[in-house]
Symmetry: C3
Subunit: 320 residues, 3 copies
């Protein structure tokens, strides 16, 4: 899309060099033919090195970006509005698929266009394989699983029934009057080899880049993995775990049932989070944690014991 | 159904005016051709003004309802038993559908009878659109979504894969010996315009009236919305939130991941609930809340800090 | 499979009596033609009475099992490796089905081979009924429900949309280098008569035996029931409850929304767990519980009150 068209969509008057913008990206990743946005003073540090051909900024950031600045009142909102125009169509142009002759596709499964499926994989009834999806060899896609377009599934993966891979991330920009404008997600999901996903689990696609579940990770039922998460090698997420967007797990992390994380944080290699643990900031690896607020597990047990001694007793001094 | 038949179903001997009862309703909503029930002393205040042609009551309430009283030992149980007889059939009589010619219906989607779908909407593979459902224009119903009969979806709505709209609410009456008798729900679900629903989210239908999600509300993955809830304009429910039945959210309420509410309470406009927050009673708007027990968020942070200072320290005096 | 083949799979040198092993089982259940494993000193007490024809043990347990010992470094891991070889195929050999002529099967439903369905049951669009499943009479299987092979559903059961019955349990053995080897589950799921399951709920099959939901139990939306659980007569599980594996609930247990349990514990008859309650060890029946750590509900309320008095007050002494 020509930059002048983008100005027109945003209701701005165009002047300058009318370059072609092929897609949107983050400040860190954007290339010359891409457009990015800066919506917060804490991200201005990325502006100097940003290679984007155009950047949505507020008035006070113009000096940093100079001629590449597209000045708007609310850069995040302008980005959301544009994201719809740059989103890939849900149904793509026809491309031939490449499905190994040893693959079994059962009745009522839907296979999109441009799909690749490796040898001996099984696609069960009601499964939806979106356009441009790649599935490796020896995979089992159970009934009624939905795999959105562009997802990449490795070899020997098992996805249990009714799970959803690659759904849109939960991201919106907000107007002054309280409406929420959808940010269309052009990222995708990668499951590496030997990943197993339980039933009714949801893994959202990234905004620009993939959400990744690394090799040998095992994910139970009813788990939520937000956009742009990365789950390290051999990690284990027990049922009803919830990861907010951009959470990064190291290798062999274990998260117990109903535990959860806030977004934009990291958990170190070999960390263990007990069931119900609530991770609200980045934590080191090779330790066990639990509780809410989260602390080291042995501290959580001691804290509970002290707390109960003081407050839980029927004859507590505090109650007299 | 004749009132005499209702007596017969309940094993009661009939006398009086054999009026026609067309459906069941609540004390507040019931009209002359409807039947209602009063199962609790705290609801007797509604009896005086109730317009129902017949009311299931216990012996002690007869004087208030007089000739309209249908006296039973357990009015709630009698109501549940009758609800099956008044429930709408899952598959309705055939009625022609009204689907705009610009609508795309992909393979393996099921479209019931009497369905209306507005222009440019997309129904993806494996989606189930029950009888008498209305879907507006420019909607996307992703693969394997189930929309139960009678649901009403506005314009520009997106429902992500494998979500369920309009499932039966979780309501039962209980026998003395511990069996649970299903209350058939004749309500429905309304999603107003520009609502987005995540993947594997469930929204139950109301008992008599609709469960409502108002315009511009955005609901993430794996969220539970109980029967008779109302979600106000532009509200945001993050992943794994759970709302018990009859919860009313004002406009632009934000609920963080894994937070939840008890039933029959209201949350004021512009309230924010932090992740994991547990709302157990009605709360005012325009404030931030968090924690369990719920309190104002800044208090929750202070409380946590005090608590950790006292109990969380390895050298805590309490531990000596 | 001959025992010599099993040795070969495990890379061991065979000697002795080359008996036929037909399946794997637990120490307690195994019969002469089965193989079992003992992976922990606390289970050696079962070894003496174990009837298995062969038992995977570590070196130090050889003396107890004598000639039946199959000595490996990690019996649990060896068991996991073998479980794949003994797993039933996902798609079984063709057997005729036995579907009553009064059954309604709607479009796009998939009915496997060897399926039995009783009179008047309704199978809605997109439902998947795996091989060898039995469904009683007067059942409703809503759209896009997935019922894995071998599940047994009683009479008058209702399964709401997009739920999953009989998915593989979440069980793995772990290598020294952090990979997880899947334990194939040959158990199944039994729902007794008059059970209702909500939408997007998941019930995993047992390892060797069934996961059981007893008569009249009612389970809401988005509930997780792990492998080998047993839910007693007339129990009620509200939305987003999570039960870890091998949890045993007595009769008429009630668990509130978002409550959960650790695994391998039991809850007594008529116990009530408040919403969010976290059950970490076995508890007696006929009492009400709540909180985290779990305590009797009235104590939880008092404890909260004392805690808030001490820590929650804006003018708390602790803050000075």
């Amino acid at each position: 899309m020509k930059l002048s068209q983008i100005y027109s969509i945003l209701g701005l008057e165009f002047s300058g060099d009318d370059i072609e913008i092929v897609s949107l990206s983050s400040l860190a990743l954007a290339q010359r033919a891409q457009m990015s946005y800066c919506d917060s003073p804490k991200n201005t540090k990325y502006l100097a090195d940003c290679k984007a051909g155009a950047v949505l900024v507020s008035k006070d950031m113009v000096d940093i970006v100079k001629s590449r600045a597209v000045v708007v009142e609310n850069p995040h909102l302008a980005f959301a509005i544009l994201s719809k125009h740059f989103s890939k169509p849900l149904i793509r142009e026809f491309k031939p698929s490449n499905i190994d002759e040893s693959v079994t596709i059962m009745p009522n499964a839907y296979i999109g266009s441009g799909v690749t499926i490796g040898k001996n994989s099984l696609i069960m009834p009601g499964a939806y394989i979106g356009d441009n999806v790649t599935i490796g060899s020896d995979c089992i896609i159970h009934p009624n699983v939905t795999i959105y377009a562009d997802s990449v599934i490795g070899n020997e993966c098992i996805i249990n029934a009714n799970s959803v891979i690659g759904s849109d991330g939960f991201g919106y920009a907000h107007t002054k009057t309280g409406e929420h404008i959808k940010i269309y997600h052009n990222g995708w999901v990668i499951l590496e080899d030997c990943v197993e996903i339980g039933a009714c689990t949801t893994i959202d696609r990234g905004v620009f880049e993939p959400t990744i579940v690394r090799k040998y990770s095992k994910i139970d039922n009813l788990v939520q993995i937000g956009h742009n998460c990365e789950i390290g090698y051999g990690s284990i997420l027990v049922s009803q775990v919830g990861l907010a967007g951009s959470t990064k797990l190291g290798r062999n992390v274990i998260m117990g049932g109903q535990s959860g994380t806030a977004g934009h944080l990291s958990i170190g290699d070999f960390a263990k989070i007990a069931g119900r643990g609530a991770v609200s900031k980045s934590i080191e690896g090779s330790k066990e944690y639990g509780g809410y607020p989260l602390m080291e597990l042995k501290e959580w047990f001691k804290t509970q014991a002290r707390f109960l001694r003081e407050f839980g007793n029927k004859n507590s001094k505090k109650d007299q």
